[in-house]
């Protein structure tokens, strides 16, 4: 079966006065229908730009994006407008992602009217109420202005707006980064419930591994415009093969003080290089604890190590799972169920 | 720095060119035939031949692009063509009046600066007192008062209370400085007041910004002498935005001149411009508008340069 979204060799360069910012340098992945792909990385790694390119909010410099089998990069405005209904977005900042001059009701009703999803004011109003309740808001919120609501509520409005168009794919661009931790859990749970109810597909962009772990089926790790590693979530946590992934994971604190003290931490030296001037060869080599001579000249391709597990590292095979990582995923899940980390379910 | 200068000059050229094109076509887009309109006021009614001769004389029978090239060619040699009204070469007309308008402009600027800086500083030093409010109202009034009305009021006051009128005939500065100043001070005051309005407010807010700085506050705590020295220093820092305003509000100056020369019967470029519009002397209007726009663009450019020179980030690139 063809994937819902297939990205091949996506490239996005920005021309600035001083040179070219290579934000995305050959990113490839695919997402199946109903699946959630988590896209993680540090700030500036290109994950947000990737999301924007998929949505065609930026026109890619190169590569192909197939959505439901259709090539997005060559579409004209008219075709794009029709496709846009199926791909929606939830933004990071709840404070600036809603038009301050429109009421919540108007914001949600607008796509309904423009795309003709429902016609007639009464029917539309009913649909707006319905959407509001699905995201956990009350009907009277329709008359509110965004600045009269809290961050979490605004984010719910953003979700309702995305849902209004009955999309197949939703790009979630760090949807909970700007929220309080307790609210984060609520929104994540909401997103999961909606996914189950409507069969949605998510591209979940975040920098917080704990959050991503909970909601994603598969995870892709990005560094400086390239994908370092991609695998299903259990493998990423139990058996990371790319040194960068390992370093990221070791930076996540474990809420068990004894384990936390004992475990080995990987600390990366240096700073993230500027995307204006990425290093030659493997982009990670200046900071990599296991880099060899070959890494300085030869760019590692994203190779498939086992089924569904790819890593862009010359030394990927030499990565043996560290003993303590075995079963790491199950342990995290258990902690979640006990309610100890951000991904935990809160009783409503 | 030189790269910056060159870049700005290169930006200036297309704008100047665009201005020339715009003016040229504005004057040609006139509803109705220029020449016919020009003679519309003639009582006897002109014959077709006279119209044709006039057209040929002005080069209006040639195709549009040719006319444009001729005009542009002339401009490069500072030849603005001939006035439709007087028949004299326009450069002559301009030369006659240039000195006068320039002098009034300079005097107005001096008046504006003499008004704006002390007033702005005092208002800042005495913020929120009645002095401050008085200065602010004084400057807002400057924006609201038509400079030509102010001129009329000056004459009124001079006549009624001093039984004296400023001299009507223009004497250049080097011939008789006293007469010259006596004549030109009044329009300079009228235009200068309006010109000072924005500069006063700028000085005030710039001074307020600088005064808020920590080193000023510590100086105040330390005593009078420090305060004096540092207030002077503050003044220097505050001058930069003021300079910008004085230069950019230059447009006000040009506009003000146009209207006020009439009141004082000064035979300057402003009056020439008004008369050219009244007489529908398109070649003259065209030339004068171009001159004004060019002056404006050049002044802006010089201000940009001054700013760049002062801002070390650009200077030492």
């Amino acid at each position: 079966m063809t994937a819902l979204l297939e990205v091949t060799n996506l490239v996005k360069h920005f021309e600035v006065g001083k040179g070219t910012v290579r934000a995305v340098e050959g990113v490839s992945f695919s997402i199946e229908k109903g699946e959630t792909l988590g896209l993680v990385g540090e700030s500036g790694c290109g994950k947000t730009t990737t999301g924007r390119c998929i949505l065609q909010l930026e026109r890619p410099t190169g590569g192909s994006i197939l959505f439901e089998g259709r090539e997005l990069t060559t579409m004209d405005q008219k075709e794009l407008r029709a496709v846009r209904r199926k791909m929606q977005v939830i933004f990071q900042d709840p404070y600036s992602s809603l038009n301050p001059r429109m009421t919540v009701g108007q914001i949600i009703a607008e796509p309904l009217a423009v795309h003709g999803i429902v016609s007639g004011n009464a029917v539309r109003a009913a649909r707006v109420k319905d959407l509001l309740s699905r995201v956990g808001l009350l009907p009277q919120h329709a008359r509110r202005y965004p600045h009269e609501m809290s961050g979490g509520q605004r984010q719910r409005v953003g979700i309702a707006r995305a849902l209004a168009m009955e999309p197949s794919l939703i790009v979630c661009d760090e949807p909970v980064s700007a929220l309080d931790v307790s609210i984060q859990a609520q929104i994540i749970n909401l997103l999961e419930d909606l996914q189950a109810e409507f069969g949605l597909t998510y591209l979940f962009i975040a920098h917080d591994l704990a959050v991503v772990r909970h909601i994603s089926d598969r995870v892709a790790v990005m560094y400086l415009g390239k994908i370092a590693e991609i695998a299903d979530r259990k493998t990423i946590y139990d058996n990371p093969r790319h040194p960068y992934t390992k370093a990221l994971l070791s930076a996540v604190p474990i809420p068990d003080p004894e384990l936390e003290v004992q475990r080995e931490r990987i600390v990366l030296g240096g700073e993230v290089p500027s995307p204006l001037n990425p290093p030659a060869g493997c982009v990670f080599h200046p900071r990599c604890p296991i880099a060899v001579e070959r890494c300085k000249h030869e760019i590692p391709a994203l190779r498939e190590l086992t089924a569904g597990h790819g890593a862009a590292c010359h030394l990927a095979e030499t990565m043996i799972p560290t003993p303590e990582r075995a079963g790491a995923f199950e342990r995290s899940e258990a902690r979640d169920r006990a309610g100890a980390s951000p991904g935990a379910r809160e009783s409503k | 720095m030189t790269k910056y200068i060159i870049k700005r000059i290169l930006l200036m050229i297309p704008t100047l060119f665009g201005v020339a094109v715009l003016i040229f076509f504005l004057m040609r887009v006139v509803p109705g035939d220029i020449v016919e309109l020009r003679f519309a006021g003639e009582s006897s009614g002109v014959s077709k031949e006279t119209l044709q001769i006039e057209r040929a004389r002005l080069g209006l029978d040639k195709p549009l692009w040719k006319q444009f090239l001729t005009w542009m060619g002339g401009l490069v040699r500072f030849d603005f063509g001939t006035s439709m009204w007087t028949g004299a070469p326009i450069s002559e007309e301009i030369k006659l009046r240039f000195a006068l308008s320039l002098q009034v402009a300079i005097m107005s600027t001096i008046v504006a600066v003499i008004l704006a800086i002390p007033l702005g500083v005092i208002a800042a030093l005495r913020q929120d007192t009645w002095v401050d409010y008085a200065v602010r109202i004084f400057s807002i009034a400057g924006l609201a008062t038509p400079s030509f009305w102010l001129g009329i009021l000056f004459i009124l006051v001079l006549l009624v209370f001093f039984k004296w009128l400023p001299p009507m005939v223009y004497t250049p500065f080097w011939v008789n400085p006293w007469q010259n100043i006596l004549q030109l001070i009044w329009p300079a005051l009228a235009v200068g007041y309006r010109y000072s309005a924005v500069a006063t407010r700028m000085t005030r807010s710039a001074m307020l910004e600088v005064l808020r700085e920590d080193y000023i506050r510590t100086a105040r705590a330390k005593g009078l002498w420090q305060k004096l020295i540092l207030t002077r220093h503050a003044l220097k820092n505050a001058m930069l935005p003021v300079l910008t305003v004085v230069a950019l509000e230059f447009a006000f100056l040009l506009g003000g001149l146009v209207v006020t020369e009439q009141v004082f019967n000064l035979n300057g470029l402003g009056l020439l411009f008004v008369e050219s519009v009244a007489h529908r002397d398109y070649t003259l209007t065209q030339a004068l508008v171009l001159l004004v726009a060019a002056a404006f663009i050049v002044v802006n450019f010089l201000v940009d340069l001054a700013y760049a020179w002062i801002d070390p980030r650009i200077r030492f690139r």
Partner: protein, 297 residues
């Protein structure tokens, strides 16, 4: 989720009550601005009710009472044709308000649309529009207006056109810089991602959010337009006799009558200054009130 209920009451108040309290707050906090607004209103009332309020017909000449000083019969005196100055000043506000509001509204709105569109489309379109606007901005207002008058001729409608033309690029400049900030906002991205048309995004999402600078521009333009009309009429290149217009009245009052009939020169000029002053006061206070730094969002 108990927190939801507490928000319910706040927005039940409704739009009109919000407006009323905003206006009252404005009057209380900024008395100068309120006074300015008051004077503006008076001007408007005078303009509309001119024929009801005025003691005389503005065009009626009375050669017997030429150049008479202010008296009980003529509160502000008469001019060289024996016309009542007070009446002509009241009717003059009609011309001033008409020209002022027409030019300001048309200029500000057209300019704002151009500016917002320019910011929205960006790239080459933006660059091109900017260059064109730059060219128009190279002329001082009066001079460009005079050039347009040279083109079109004098008369009320031509004056309105002449003054509106220089206002458009000035409005576009201000609108563009506000719109550039708005263009980066995620809600504009959301609208694009939702597949809305360009026109809808510009008009429905971007333009309403540049309301504050637009209103401030409008009040500034009003004052400038009135002044410009007065200047044009004074030069004899605006509206023509016998239309009552403040600038025109000053033209007739120039140096020759200065000594014998000063009231002819004083009152029309006073009217101009007061009107523009009021608009400027109001505009200043409005700008302070709408300053985003002072707002708690």
């Amino acid at each position: 989720m108990a927190t939801v209920e507490t928000f319910v009451d706040a927005s039940e108040a409704g739009a009109s009550a919000r407006w009323r309290s905003a206006i009252l707050d404005f009057c209380r906090q900024r008395p100068l601005g309120a006074i300015g607004a008051g004077v503006v209103l008076v001007n408007l009332v005078l303009a509309v009710l001119a024929n009801v309020i005025s003691p005389y017909d503005p065009l009626a000449t009375d050669y017997g009472a030429m150049l008479s000083a202010p008296s009980r019969a003529h509160w502000l005196g008469t001019d060289a044709f024996g016309r009542d100055v007070l009446t002509r000043i009241i009717y003059g506000s009609r011309t001033a308000m008409l020209v002022g509001f027409s030019c300001a509204f048309i200029g500000a709105t057209l300019g704002a649309v151009i500016g917002v569109a320019s910011a929205y489309f960006g790239g080459k379109v933006d660059l091109l529009i900017q260059r064109v606007m730059d060219i128009f901005l190279s002329f001082p207002l009066i001079i460009l207006a005079l050039a347009v008058v040279a083109m079109l001729g004098t008369g009320l409608s031509n004056v309105i056109a002449a003054i509106t033309v220089p206002m458009i690029p000035r409005a576009a400049l201000v609108a563009r810089s506000s719109a550039l900030a708005i263009r980066e906002m995620p809600y504009v991205d959301a609208a694009r991602a939702a597949g809305f048309r360009h026109g809808r995004i510009i008009l429905r999402h971007m333009s309403p959010n540049v309301m504050a600078p637009y209103l401030i521009m409008l009040t500034a333009f009003l004052g400038q337009a009135i002044l410009a009309e007065a200047s044009l009429s004074f030069l004899g290149l605006g509206v023509s006799e016998p239309t009552p217009a403040w600038g025109l009245m000053l033209r007739g009052a120039a140096v020759q009558f200065a000594e014998s009939a000063p009231w002819m020169a004083i009152f029309p000029g006073l009217a101009i200054s007061l009107a523009v002053f009021a608009f400027n006061l109001f505009g200043d206070s409005l700008r302070d009130a709408l300053d985003p730094r002072l707002r708690t969002q």
